[in-house]
Each structure stands twice: as C-alpha cells, then as structure tokens.
Assembly symmetry: C2
Homo-oligomer: 451 residues x 2
Amino acid sequence: MTIEVFEKLLAQRQYKAIKTIFDTMNPVDTAALLPEFEDKQTVLLFRLITKENAAAVFTYLEPEQQQVLLEAFTDTELKLIMDDMFIDDTVDIIEEMPANVVERMLSAAGDKREAINSILNYPEDSAGSIMTLEYVSFSPSMTIGDALKKIKSTGIHSETVNICYVVEKHKLLGFVTAMDLLTCDDDELISDVMDENSVSVTTLADKEEVAQLFNKYDMVSIPVVDKENCMVGIVTFDDAIDVIQEEAEEDFQKMAAIAPTDKPYLRISVWELWKGRIPWLILLMLSATFTGMIISSFEDALSKLVVLTAFIPMIMGTGGNSGSQASVTVIRGLSLGEVDVKDVFRVMWKEFRVSILCGISLALACFVKIIVVDKLLLGTPGVSDNVALVVSLTLCVTVICAKFIGCILPIAAKRLKLDPAVMASPFITTIVDAVSLFVYFGIAKILIPQL
Amino acid sequence: MTIEVFEKLLAQRQYKAIKTIFDTMNPVDTAALLPEFEDKQTVLLFRLITKENAAAVFTYLEPEQQQVLLEAFTDTELKLIMDDMFIDDTVDIIEEMPANVVERMLSAAGDKREAINSILNYPEDSAGSIMTLEYVSFSPSMTIGDALKKIKSTGIHSETVNICYVVEKHKLLGFVTAMDLLTCDDDELISDVMDENSVSVTTLADKEEVAQLFNKYDMVSIPVVDKENCMVGIVTFDDAIDVIQEEAEEDFQKMAAIAPTDKPYLRISVWELWKGRIPWLILLMLSATFTGMIISSFEDALSKLVVLTAFIPMIMGTGGNSGSQASVTVIRGLSLGEVDVKDVFRVMWKEFRVSILCGISLALACFVKIIVVDKLLLGTPGVSDNVALVVSLTLCVTVICAKFIGCILPIAAKRLKLDPAVMASPFITTIVDAVSLFVYFGIAKILIPQL
C-alpha cells in the first residue's frame, strides 16, 4: 500500500476505507508507514487502527512518533494502550521518553506499575533489563488438564506459551513445551512430562551472553532466575535476535572508529553523524604526530636516499592490514564466546605461527616485486638489491609485530573489563605505523652503508 | 562436568555411571564435550547416550566428529539416528560429508530421501536451502478439536507446533498459534481463528532477507511458498539466528580482508588461517605499488622539502579512517536493508555534508596542531605557516574525497550484484591513499613557491 493512497483517502476523509486497509495489514508494516506523515495526521491515522492491533503498532513505532502519540492521547486512550502492551516493550518505550511523558505513562500503568519499576531498576546490559515478567508457570503436582485450564483462564496475557515453566515455592524446576501440552493426556502429571535440563540465566547476567545461549541451545525463551534460583521472568528469542544484531552493529561501528548509534542510517541527521565520527578522527590524526616525529628524526637518511619514502605507505598499509586481520578475528572470537581471556597463550602461539608464514610469504613476494617491477621494469632511481632486501625484511618483521599487537590488545582490553572492539583496526594501525617505521629505519641503517 | 571425570570413568569402565550423567546433560553440552576425546572413545561415549538424546547430540556435533561416527555406525545405528533427525539438520550434515558417507546416509534415509534431495537442490543461499519440510498444517474447514487430534497423531514429528499453517489445495491461507489451539473452544473453526496477515517467502528468496524478516516481524517461523503460493516448508527462528550471525561474521571478515570461514577461531589450523589471510595481504601490498609510484614521481619536491614526508602517514591515515567510517556505515545499512541502491543520491548528499563538516573541523585542528606543536614546541625544521596550510587543505579535500569514495563504492558493488562488504576498509584505503597523495603534492606545488 503506497503512501499516496493514504494521502488521497485522508484528503477525501474516507476514514472507513483506511480502517479496512489497516485491518488487513501486519502491525509492523502499519508502524513503518506512520512516520511518513505529519504529526497531526499520524495521530489521526493511529486512531483508525482497530483496538486489537493498536498496542502492537504502537510498540513497533519509532520513539519520535511514540512521543507524539503519547502527548496527544487522552488518559483513557493511554490506559487502553498500556493495558494491551507487554511489560518489556513498555519498559523499552519508557526508557526513550522525556520525564513528563514517563510520569503520565507510569500513572496510567495501573497494576503493572510495580513490575515496570522493577525492570527499570536492573543494570542497562543485564538479562533483567530485557526480560518480561509475563510467562506461564505450573506447579509440578498439576496435571496436564489443570495446566490447560490455567492457560485458558490466564494464558492470553502471556507473551508466549511456547515454553511454560514448572515452579515450586518460586524455585525453577523445569519446563514443558506447547507440544507437550498438546500431545500428552489430560491426567498426566506435569512433573512426569517436564524436561529438567533447563538452561537459565540470572537477572544480572550480561545480555550478550544471554543472546549467545539462544544461539547455542536453539530455545524460544530462557528463564531468568535470582541468586536463589527463584524464577523472576523470561527472555524471549526476539529480544535475543535484537541483542545479537545490536551488539554486532556496535562492534562494526567501533571497528570503523564511529561512536555507536542504533538509529537507521537514513534517519540520522548530518549533525549526529558528524558528532559520532569526528572525535575519533581528530584523536587518530593527533596520534599520527608520533609517526611524523619518527619520520622527521630520520630526515637525514631520507634525504640521502629519497626512494625509501616511496615504500613507507606500502609497509604501513600491509602492517595495518595484518594487524586488523588478527584483531578483528580475536575481537569477534571474544564476542561470540569462542575465545576467552584464559586462552591468551593459545591465541599468541597460533598468531605467532601464522605471522611467520604471512611474513615470509609477503617478504618473498615483495622482494620479487621490487626487483622485477621497480628496478627492472620501471627503473626507479635509487632502487637497489639492498633496498629490496631492507623493504622485504621490514615487511616480514612488521607483519609479525602487527599480528602480535593485533591479537594481544583485544584480549588485554577484555581482561581490563574494557570493550575489546575499541582495540580495533584504527587504534592498532596507529601503533603498528610507529613500530613499522622504527623497524624500517633501523634495518635500513644497518644494511645500507651510505646512510 | 569436567573431561577428567569422564576419562576416569572410561578407564574404570563405569559405563552405567556415564550413561546416567549423560541423561542429566543438555544435548548441546554433551555435543560440546565429545570432541575432547579420541575418535575411538568418541564412538564408545556416543553409544552410551540414550536413544531420545542421540539424534540431538549428533546434530550439534562438529562435522569432524559426525564423520567419525557415521563411519563407525552399523547400518541399524545409522537408520535409528537418521529417523530421529530433522530433515533440515540432515541436509546440513550431508553438505559437509565426503561422497561415500553421503551415499550411506541417503540409502539409510528411507522415506525421507526424496525430501532431502529436494532441499539439496535449492541454491546455496536461498530460503529453500535452509527450510525444513516438517511443519503442521490444517485445512480451514477443520475445527480446533480436529486440529488437536491431528497434532496428537502426527505433530510429534514436526519441528515446531508453535505456529501451524492453514492450507487449502496446497495454497497458504494463514496461520494459527499454539496459543490459539490451547485457548479456543474445540468446536471453533480453524478458518475463524486463523490469522491471515501471514508473512511468507519464496523458495528462492535470499536467506539473509529471510533472516531480516524474523528480526522485523518477531515470528517463531516463516512459511516458504513456491511461485504459485503453494506451501513447501518453513524456516524456523533458530536457523534465522544462525544466518544473522553467519552473515555478520562474513562481513567482519571481509572488512578485515580475510577470506570468510565459519569455524571457531581456536579450531582453525594455522595453515587455514594463513590461506585465508595471505591473498588479500599480497593483493593490497601489490596495489600499494601505485602509491609508491606517485611518491617517486614527486621525488624532486620531496628532496627539496623533506618535512613534507613527515605528514604523509597522517594524511593517508585520516583519509583511510574517514573512508572506512562512510563505507562501514553504508555496507551495514545495505546488509540490514536500511539503505537501498535507489537511495544512492540521498546517501551521497548526506555524506557530502558530513564530509564538509568533518573536513573543516579536521583542517582547523590540524592547522593549530602543526603551528603549536610542530613549529613552536618541537621546532621541526622546514615547518612553516605555508606547510601547515598545505597539509590542512589537503586533509580537508582528502576527507571529502574519502567519504565520497567510501559511500559510493559499496552501493556500486551492490548495483553490480557483488557483495558490498568487499568494498570495505582495506580496498577503499588503497584508493584513498593514491587520491590523497595527488591532492597533497598538487596543493603543495601551488602554494609553496620553492617546489
């Protein structure tokens, strides 16, 4: 359905037709459509959505439109929406709203208010902050028939019945699946049907680790328990997908030296993009002062044999690329839980051997290239066998240093409880640049007598 | 449970104890444990796993162990495992096995053989290749009671009953959830209960787009239909999580100039790591020949004013970082479906304004830094106001060019049906390096009379 159609229908005041169209649309698509209109029209259009879909559409809107609507809602409208929204979604919205809107939302929350406040109190990246309190629980002594009755009376308000949890005196014992409920006989006991191998997380577990558990165990939801193994909520797979996606995007942005944002590119203002990018650019530019100083200090050597300058970009570039390869591999390994801080020596030993192989191959390729292309083909003045040797040796040593720095810094960052991703390409490149210049001029002074 | 415990129990032939321990473990954890043992022990241990868990454990094993077991299995054992495995998992395993093992597996597949072959025939990255054929379907004229009976008789073999599909003459009409089945009355008609707003994909849809649909619509499974809207299978959320994760890792690796692999870091051999990294390193090293040639061609200017060399790494580095920022942002925007090829002018206009802001800020910071640090504080010989002006102007122009190249190349790649991620940092840096040198020497020749 195109925007033009809605604009025409709005202009003709064909509200009933709009209502009918909204009825056939998926709430996600309706939510994607609304931001294309002006605030006044958005409010008008939103009021044409049927009651059953309103809360879902509202949940999927961008914070800007949610705020517009919240400010336009009457108290009754606000109450209706809040009643139909899941608690975890409500919390997500509250976290984006200004104080006066939050106050109105909380006072309309009714009996959900306490639950909302408890989730708001968990630390930002914890399992508690992304969990929902709406789940179905049974006691082990219930029969399947009892369980079915309980779902019929209360289940409709739960985010998922795909997995129901078995709880006794608040302690988590196991789970039963919708499949169990649908296929077992009514008089079977929950305790006989339930699966005890339940994976659970504590309220304070890191949300990224929780998301990785979904990936590992292929579960639809994971129970969240407190320190005493008492059940407090569940995290559902859709939140886990969001976390996996968000964390990957954050790593991408940090690796490209951009301050992380979760807004879609086309919605970010030019000003915000600039603010996210300029601090790192300036920092990295200033840190290049050191490379400049190193070059200046070898000015004598350079003025005697200017051709040495021509190889600086190639050496720095290859060093930087080698370092990034190692750092990105290790950073992602750490993020996915495939590599741990305690594996540091295994990683170093592996990268050392890889770097020797890469260093030697690159040095050979480089030596041949300089002799064949630069000396014989192009006849670049000043290129001698000695220069080729110096450049190739430098390349080999630089690659070994770069891979070492690239693998060690992310692990060190993790050890210091920093995000390993900040140790990514741009940062490592700056260090590798300085190292490679020292190696270059050091080897040149030894092997070329005239310097 | 530590490996040592199992080793001791194995040495003491306490097989019953091992059986009991396996019984309490999640199949995923059992599968993670087996690769720690020698092949012979792995086979022995696997035979101690109860029949109900064997297929699940087998599914989660690494291909190496799967092959060891498949070669050790008797025909009866193979048949038992194959009967209990889901078809999509079986296909995943078959794709990793050598021809002789595949042959044995297919001949043990029985009535699943045709289904396996049909999935194997879909293109590698298509929805068809990751779907499963095991789903529950109802006709619209059935009652909830009929549906429950159908699930009790056949549902146990389906990968999920969380969403069941409504199909008439093979055409997909809609879906009912486990929640509907559990809460509606037995005499209600499926056609009255079902939800018609069903999101579906075709068998040939790109699996990455399918995964993004899960992220967008928060569904547990998505139906796969052929060109005539006839239902052929479903993709489940766990496969979608795998795809999201895999595609992100592939992008990370391409951005770091590494050939993609999906093996965990600590399991990849040194040789494989080298093979994945060296081609790009050599290619990028050789392409740096051009930067070398550009520098050589300006050798006269450089020998007259050696201090110009000192700023080359800073200019190239900042240009490279600016370009990566733009390219990574656009590459991820394309991957997540936030940016499309048709948005090319919006992207260019946005990046142009950002690049002007970044360029001016960096030029100002750079000018002040050169005057204060290099000229006044360090007194580096040759640094004049003119040199500071040349470097700052170059920086501004380079940043603008870099952001332009960084945003345009990934979109161009997408337009040419190439993967935008290959246009990432290392590739763009190489181009930006060459551009920045031309700009640098060009501006220097104009503004510094002695050159």
